[in-house]
């Protein structure tokens, strides 16, 4: 169990230390538009409609 925990800690640390390692699109690239079908805690929106604002977009999985 302890070794599994250590691996997790090392993995998480590496992920935090590696800039942009988790994503190929980077600084200066146009952000691709998304097609939302349902929205939780927010009104319906698109990146286009949010132009003028800054957007922090996290792509995630619940599992």
């Amino acid at each position: 169990m302890r070794w599994k925990l250590s691996l997790l800690v090392v993995g998480a640390t590496l992920a935090l230390l590696a800039p942009c390692a988790s994503a190929a699109l980077g600084e200066g690239d146009a952000a691709p538009e998304f097609e939302g079908k349902e929205y939780v805690n927010t009104p319906a929106c698109t990146l286009k409609a949010l132009r003028g604002q800054a957007v922090f977009l996290e792509i995630f999985r619940t599992t």
Binding site: A15, A21, S22, V40, A54, V55, I59, T62
Partner: protein
């Protein structure tokens, strides 16, 4: 995700929109929200942003500037306050409109930017705006719409400079449509014609569109590797020297391996 709530709480009022996005089921997201008490916005998408943003692992985050271009990307845990402050310093939201400009609001809500600009300019030129506040708000709105149009053209140029002509065309078509009648729309039209007249650029646009369509078909129909293989092989053979052709060849190679398993 607690991190996202913190960002939202601290920076939303300053012009930062915090969103998490997934294409998982509504029930999975509801369960997740109940479990984590997440308060930030979550988008359940029909497409696949992970693929569009070329994400290699979860979670991945992108800080997108007011012009629609990425300012930073990486693990969300690395996004610090200095980064947010930088993004917020660039925010350019539309000015709040006084009652004298209330007639512009419907056009803005429908994102009819050129129409909104024309109406505003008419009010300015017609001398119907009497107070300094009204005149200032009208001038700010015109400037903001011009910036919005120009940022689309500039983003398209930046995409073109990277050889991403499909993305450039999408942006230019948006400017041409949304800002019809403005100089930026004419510039967008000129650039679209130039791209269309250049075979290599046109091939990038066509092939990349086909690649995205093939990926969407594979995803939507939940195709097995053997079924999806012809979709990518045809792009790879027809557009050998394009980025889409090369990507399709890589996908086909992997599908052949998966089909043999």
């Amino acid at each position: 995700m607690v991190h996202l709530d913190g960002l939202q709480e601290k920076f939303a009022a300053k012009g930062l929109k915090v969103l998490a996005i997934t294409n998982e089921s509504r029930s999975a997201v509801d369960e997740f929200v109940t479990k984590t008490s997440a308060k930030h916005g979550i988008v359940i998408e029909s497409g696949d942003s992970a693929e569009a943003f070329e994400v290699k692992s979860y979670p991945s985050a992108f800080l997108i500037g007011p012009d629609g271009r990425i300012l930073w990307s990486g693990h969300p845990g690395r996004a610090d306050e200095a980064l947010m402050a930088r993004a917020i310093s660039l925010v350019r939201v539309a000015p709040e409109l006084p009652s004298a400009l209330a007639s512009i609001t419907p056009s803005l809500e429908k994102e009819k930017w050129a129409e909104a600009r024309a109406k505003t300019q008419k009010l300015i030129d017609g001398g119907t705006l009497t107070t300094d506040e009204d005149k200032e708000a009208a001038a700010k709105l015109v400037t903001w719409i011009d910036w919005l149009a120009q940022s689309g053209v500039d983003s398209a140029k930046a995409e073109g400079a990277k050889g991403r002509w499909y993305e450039a065309v999408a942006l230019l078509e948006g400017v041409k449509r949304d800002f019809k009648g403005l100089p930026q729309a004419l510039e967008a039209d000129t650039q679209l014609k130039a791209i269309s007249a250049d075979k290599a650029k046109k091939d990038d646009v066509t092939s990349y569109g086909k690649l995205l369509k093939a990926k969407a078909t594979q995803r939507e129909k939940d195709m097995k590797p053997k079924e999806a293989l012809p979709l990518f092989k045809s792009i790879a053979s027809k557009y050998v020297d394009t980025r889409a052709g090369k990507a399709a060849a890589e996908i086909a190679k992997q599908l052949e391996i998966d089909a043999g398993k």
